[in-house]
């Protein structure tokens, strides 16, 4: 028996009055496929099924979705990691508006990313060659720059669900700290000032859902703690 029971969230706002779950029987031929491969097999059965994918190897961050209740990248999640009792339930990333089926509107997520000004700011004259860093200064960026913005963390965070327009979210805050920790960035004070209100950083309750789901094994909660330490050091 290699038929996998898959239940998929379907919603086409042009034809459906409400979202519904569609059942699929997928023949995996006993292989431990990736969830994305299962989606391809389902698309052969129903070509109308919509989902995002691109690199299919966990680099582009397109196919973030909720698999049996846990966010992750479908392309690097083997069935053996998520399937329980031969059943797989696939839903779009929670908390974001659904455009169609598994495709969500990432507008709010990107807006929060844009808000933290994710680029190097330096008001000193540019040197002749490049701005140098010591190996130790460069080491501080490890565990921060690797984020691929798949939104698995932010959409698993209740604080982001309730206030996606005000709370930056784990993904944005990880990137915010990436620039706060960068020895070449001189906008530290301005960055900290823009985060000091009760929502942007402090809506984080430290429940670490973000850490539990990050497909790249990053730790946004630690970065948020570091931002709080910097804010405290700057304001006391």
């Amino acid at each position: 028996m290699s038929n996998l029971q898959v239940s998929v969230y379907r919603y086409n706002p042009e034809t459906d009055s409400a979202p519904y779950m569609q059942e699929f029987q997928v023949d995996t031929k006993g292989r431990d496929l990736m969830v994305l491969d299962v989606l391809h097999l389902m698309k052969e059965q129903d070509s109308g099924l919509a989902y995002r994918r691109s690199c299919r190897e966990g680099v582009c961050g397109s196919d973030g979705m909720n698999m049996n209740g846990k966010n992750g990248l479908a392309c690097i999640t083997p069935l053996s990691d998520v399937v329980k009792g031969n059943k797989l339930t696939l839903r779009p990333l929670p908390g974001l508006p659904v455009i169609r089926d598994m495709v969500v509107d990432m507008g709010l997520f990107y807006k929060q990313y844009e808000r933290i000004q994710p680029y190097l700011q330096n008001d000193t004259p540019a040197p002749a060659i490049e701005r140098l860093q010591s190996p130790e200064e460069r080491d501080k960026l490890d565990g921060l720059y690797e984020c691929i913005l798949c939104a698995c963390c932010s959409t698993s965070c209740p604080s982001f669900w309730w206030n996606p327009d005000k709370f930056v979210g784990p993904a944005g805050l990880l990137q915010s700290y990436r620039f706060l920790a960068d020895s070449r960035d001189t906008a530290t004070r301005e960055r900290l000032t823009s985060l000091e209100d009760p929502f942007s950083v402090f809506r984080c309750r430290g429940i670490m859902n973000c850490v539990a789901v990050c497909p790249k094994g990053l730790n946004p909660t630690r970065a948020i703690g570091k931002i709080r330490e910097m804010l405290l050091a700057d304001a006391t």
Partner: protein
Amino acid sequence: MVTNITSFGRSGLSDWLMQRVSAVILALYTVFVVAYLLFNPNLDYYTWSGLFEQTWMRIFSLLAFVSIAAHAWIGLWTVTTDYLKSTRLRVGAQTLIILAIFVYLVWGIQILWGA
């Protein structure tokens, strides 16, 4: 920067610090009162009111009252901003909460210093 006018300190950082400091004070006060009750099994009115007549106990109690007022304001303000999406409802609830905290605080001070 997100504007806010009904939070306790008008700043996420000061609210966050205040929440932690008040939590430590409340923990110390709770441990002290529970320990006092455990070590005085046959507690009578005179011993109990004698404890609260001492200046240090009054300061400690007032500190705990102020801490619980700040702690409740910050915590419940956060709950209302998470779950009450209608502005009218949220501002109404926040006003009620802040007024209730004020009433309880003054009432507590009266009990502590009034006798």
